[in-house]
């Protein structure tokens, strides 16, 4: 039961939308000291690569925490197009 976030996301059903529903203005991220996105995303979609924030929209659970919590307002959040994105079988 002690499984990683990657394994957890493997248990969730997605209809992946090629169109990104979340756009992150990473210019603002480079000015951000806290980088709280590394903590608040329950799907760990934000990662730090060579000092730069990278966001992967595939595997997003659409909770909108990033839009609410990003201290720089760098997250442009829309829901995935109709029918796309996460679909919970239990919920």
């Amino acid at each position: 039961m002690n499984i990683s976030i990657e394994e957890r996301l493997g248990l969730v059903s997605f209809e992946v939308d090629k169109e990104r529903h979340i756009k992150v203005n990473t210019d603002l991220c480079s000015e951000c000291d806290e980088k709280t996105c590394l903590y608040f995303c329950p799907a760990k979609r934000f990662t730090l690569e060579n000092g730069k924030i990278k966001h992967d929209h595939e595997g997003c659970l659409e909770c909108r925490t990033c839009k609410l919590a990003c201290p720089k307002g760098a997250v442009d959040f829309n829901y995935p197009r109709g029918g796309y994105g996460v679909y919970y079988k239990y919920g």
């Binding site: 995303c41 609410l68 829901y79 919920g91």
Partner: protein, 421 residues
Amino acid sequence: MSEKFDAIIVGAGPAGSAAAYSLAKMGFNVLIVERGKYPGAKNVMGGRMYAYALDRLIPEFWKEAPVERKVTHERLTLQGGKASLTLDFMDEELLEPPNSFTILRAEFDQWFAGKAVEAGAALVPGIRVDDLIRENSRITGIVAGTDKIEANVVIASDGAASLLAEKAGLRKSDVKQFALGMKEIIELPQKTIEERFNLAGTEGAAQLFVGRCTKGIPGGGFIYTNTSSLSVGIVVYIDRLIGKKIEAHEIIREFNTNPEVAKLIEGGKILEYSAHVIPEASGSELFTDGMLIAGDAAGLVVNSGVTLRGMDMAIASGVAAAKAVKNAFEKNDFSKKGLSYYEELLKRDFVLQDKETFKRAPEFLQNERLYTLYPEFVCRLFHRLTLVNGPKKKVFDELLEETKGKRTQMFLDMLRALRAV
């Protein structure tokens, strides 16, 4: 679609389906649009719905609805250090009529939306609403891709952190108003669940965990028993989580390893992981020219510290929205003034009364001591009372010893508790 509807409802969750069902029954021409591929596809909650609101709308709904168990066992586990204290409340009177049910939203929301369709509402899933149509500042419909669909009234029941309420300028979301819920569905044999939670037949248990599990962050853990699975999860205030620099998903991962939890889920298999925000301390204006907001979208969630309620508030607000639309049709006035009956109905009903009664609760429940000092204190006290390794003291003396230097703080917190919850 060029047809004009009496009402368009955005979001086929409990608020939207309750509104659509009520309006369709009254003979209105209603459209529900849902961005998920089916109603419930995007919806998550801890796992329990209080029955009262839906029972008023569809009497004895549980005879046909996909419900899991009737909650008769309420448990509260305070975790401190290496110890924990569990209060175990069992009440057979909660069984008939049922007070609350554990449910799984994907299945339940499809059933409820199906009831609205049966009553005559049109349901179109797989539609994302991109914008609102406005005519002289009045909202007169929705925009979805290249489609524009008009209606006399739009009901925004698009869930926690509603984009439509924001677009209409009725709400400004602030991270402090929201908690983050993370949950997993763990499959276990029915018999194992009944044995571990001491349940008979359709009885169910709800267990809340306060203390160690959230690492000092205001929030808590939960387990709800479904028929042959458990809903296991964590809720934390987002801004407080950030302050602690702990990765959100690590909290639920560790929760599974808490000794009080590990024994209950042992041998189970995780079927699904999910996350959602909860508008715990959020509020919004409830209506504007041509639009009403219902359910989570309007921040209609009440955490009293004992009961956490969203679905029953959503259903009651959806029904009230439908009545307000009917009233607006009678007056042929869909302006803000014409829709103001909505607020009047919610004030008369439990929805805004409970919101008012517990308006101080969110602030109180964000007091970190509730999740650190107090669970630890209770566990320390019971440790002192039960340990035998020399001369023993009387209960009252142990209490004095354990509260030394903390009494003023505890007294003040108790006053706050009395005011808030």
